[in-house]
Symmetry: C2
Subunit: 398 residues, 2 copies
Amino acid sequence: MKQISLQLLAENNLRFRMDRICARMAAEKAESLIISCNNNKFYLTGRIFDGWIAITADPRKILYFVRRQPELTGENVYRVHKPEDIPEVLAREGISLGKTIALELSETPYAMIERLSHAFSATEIVNADTILMGARAVKAPDEIELIRACAAKHDRVYRRIPHLYREGMSDIELQIEIERVTRLEGAIGIMRVTGNDMEINMGSVLVGENADTPSPYDFALGGAGASPALPVGADGTIIRRGVTVMVDTNGDFNGYMTDMTRTFIVDDTIDDEAKRAHQLSIDICRRLEKDARPGVACSDLYKTAMEMAEKAGFANKFMGHSHQAGFIGHGVGITINELPVLAPRSKSVLEENNIIAIEPKFVIEHIGAVGIENTYRVTADGLEKLTVSPEGLVSLED
Amino acid sequence: MKQISLQLLAENNLRFRMDRICARMAAEKAESLIISCNNNKFYLTGRIFDGWIAITADPRKILYFVRRQPELTGENVYRVHKPEDIPEVLAREGISLGKTIALELSETPYAMIERLSHAFSATEIVNADTILMGARAVKAPDEIELIRACAAKHDRVYRRIPHLYREGMSDIELQIEIERVTRLEGAIGIMRVTGNDMEINMGSVLVGENADTPSPYDFALGGAGASPALPVGADGTIIRRGVTVMVDTNGDFNGYMTDMTRTFIVDDTIDDEAKRAHQLSIDICRRLEKDARPGVACSDLYKTAMEMAEKAGFANKFMGHSHQAGFIGHGVGITINELPVLAPRSKSVLEENNIIAIEPKFVIEHIGAVGIENTYRVTADGLEKLTVSPEGLVSLED
C-alpha cells in the first residue's frame, strides 16, 4: 500500500495555528485539547482523516491518533481502534493531558463528549470550539493562499453564468448548470457549515419573490426551496424579464471557501428601485472596504451599513423584507460561517488576516433580491477584495 | 405572508410513527422526548423547520415549537425564540415532561443537550436516538411510497449513464454529468447521513484501482477523492478499457432515499475474474432476496453472503481488498445509513417494512470494484426489490 503523509501543513503554517490555539488554551485554562470534528482535523493537518488529535499546551505537543487508515503516516502518528485506546499511548509516551481538557462541545454529539471525557478522566471540561473558532478567525499564510485560489475559480464560474442561461429556464435549472461548471472547476461538492442544524447543497439561486420566503436556516436570505425536505433557495420559479436572479453559490474548491453573490437580470427592463438598491449595496461595500481595518468593531460596520440603508429609505428591505437577517457579514474559511460575525451585538473587533464576507442585500417586493457579496481579507489598510467578478446588475441575455 | 402547514403527514402516518416512538419510550422508561435534529423533525412533520418537537407518552401528545418561521401554522404549533421558552408554554398548557426525558444524545452537540436538559429540569436523560432510530427502521406507508418514488427516479438516472459517457472522460467528469441529471430529475442535492463524522457529496464513482483506496469515512468502499478536503470517491482516474466503473450515486429526491450501485465497463474486454465476481454479487443478492424475511437475523444474512464469497474463492476481495468493510448492507430512509445493519455482530432481526440496501461488492486488483447494490423492502415473503435498473455489467459504449 502506498504510504501518504497525514500532515500536509508546512512547519510555519502549523506553528501559526498552534500559537493561536495555545494562546487561547491558556486564556481558558485548558491544559489539553482533543479534536474529533472533521473541520478542525482539516485545520490542523490539511486532510480529513479518521481519528483524533490531542494537543498539550505545556510542553507544547500535537499528537495524531489514526483509526482504520493504514496508509497515513507521519511523526507523532499513532494507531488506535477507539478513543479509549488513546490514554494508554499517552501514558507510554509520558504525556499528561492534565485535568482541564478542552473538547468540542458546540460541534460534537453529547454521547461522544461523554465518552471522551470519561476516557481521559477529565475533571473539568472547557469548550474547544470557543478556542478553535477563535484561532481559525485569523488565517495562516497557507490558508490565505488557498482562499485566493478559491476566489479565482469562483470568479471563473461566475463569469460563465450568462452563458449558462437559456430563455424559459427555472431558477433550479440555472442553479444545476452553475453547479456543474463549479464542479468541473474543481469544487468538492459540499458546503461545510458550523452548527449541525444548517444544511444547504451547493448554494442558492433566488429569483423574484421567492427571495422573500423565510427558510429554517440562518442564511442571510431564504427561499422556499424545491422540497420541504430542504426548504432553502430555488423553488422552480421561471426566470423572466422584470425580476432579479441572485446567485450565491459554492466556492469550496480545496477545503477553503470564498463566498460571493452577484445579481443578474434578463435585460435592462428592471424597476428603478431595484437598480438603486443594488447600487446602494455596492456603495455599502465600498464604504466598508475603507472603514474596516484591524481594531474596528464589527458592530460598528453593521451600524454603518444599516445607517446607509436607512438614509436611502431602504431600511425595511435590508437583509430581507418579510424576515430580516440580523447580520451583514461573517467570517469564511473551512466553513461558510466562521468568526467574526458583523452583527449589531457582536463583541468582535477586526484583526489582520480575518477573511470576511460582506453581503448587504435588499429584497424588493415583486422584483426579488438585489445586492452583492464579496469575500475580503482584512489588511492594515482596509479590506482587500478577493472576489473580483463584475458587481453591477449583469444581463443574462448579453 | 402566505401561511403554510407545518404538519404535512396524514393522520394515519403520524399515528404509525407515534406508535413506534411511544412503544420505545416506554421500553426506555422515557416520560417525554425532545427533538432538535433536522432528520427527526422531518420524520415527524415531513418538513425541515427551525424549532423543536416535544412528545409525551402518557397522555400521548406531540407539540411543535417554531422559531423564526411565522409562515408555519398548524394544531399544537407554538412560537418560541429559544428552547428555554418551551417550559413556560408547557406549564400554560398543563403538560408535564416528567423527569426522565429522552434527548438525541448521539446526534445533538453536547452544548445543546446541556442547554435542553437544564431548561427542562431533567433529572434523568435517556438517548432519544436509540428510540428514534429504532422507530425509523420500520417505514410507515407514506415513507414506503416516497421511497418507491425515489427508486423510480434513481432508475431513470442510472439508465442514462451510458449516454453521459464520452471517451477519455475521468471518473469525476462522469460523476458531474450524473450529478447534473440526478438534480434535473429532482434530487435535493445533499446526502443526509447518520453520525456527524460522515461526509459525502452526491455519491461516488470508483474507477479502476482507486476503488481499493481506504477513506476516512465508514462507507462500504472508499476511493481517494479529488482533494484531501473530502477524501472519498472519484480521484481523477481516466475511464478506459479493462477497468470497471462503479457508480453509487445519490437517490434522494424527496427527503427519502434509495441506495443503488451499478457497475459499468467501456466494452467487453474485461478480465474474466471481474465478470465472475460481479455475477457472484448478483447471485448473493438473489439468495438474500429469498432468505431475508421478518424474523431473520441480520448477522445470518451477512454470514450467508460471506460464505458464498468464501466458497467462490473471493473472500479476500469481498467488501474491499486492502481494507474490508465490516457490513454488507444497511437500512435506508431519511439518511443513507439507518437501521438495521447487516453485519456479523448485529443483534437486529428483520421486520416487515424495513427498507434495506444490500451491497455485496468485490475489489479486483488492477481492475476495480464490481458488484451491485439494491434497495429492498422487507415483506412477509422475502425482499421486494425497489431499484430495478439492469444489474449486469453495462457497457458504456453501447
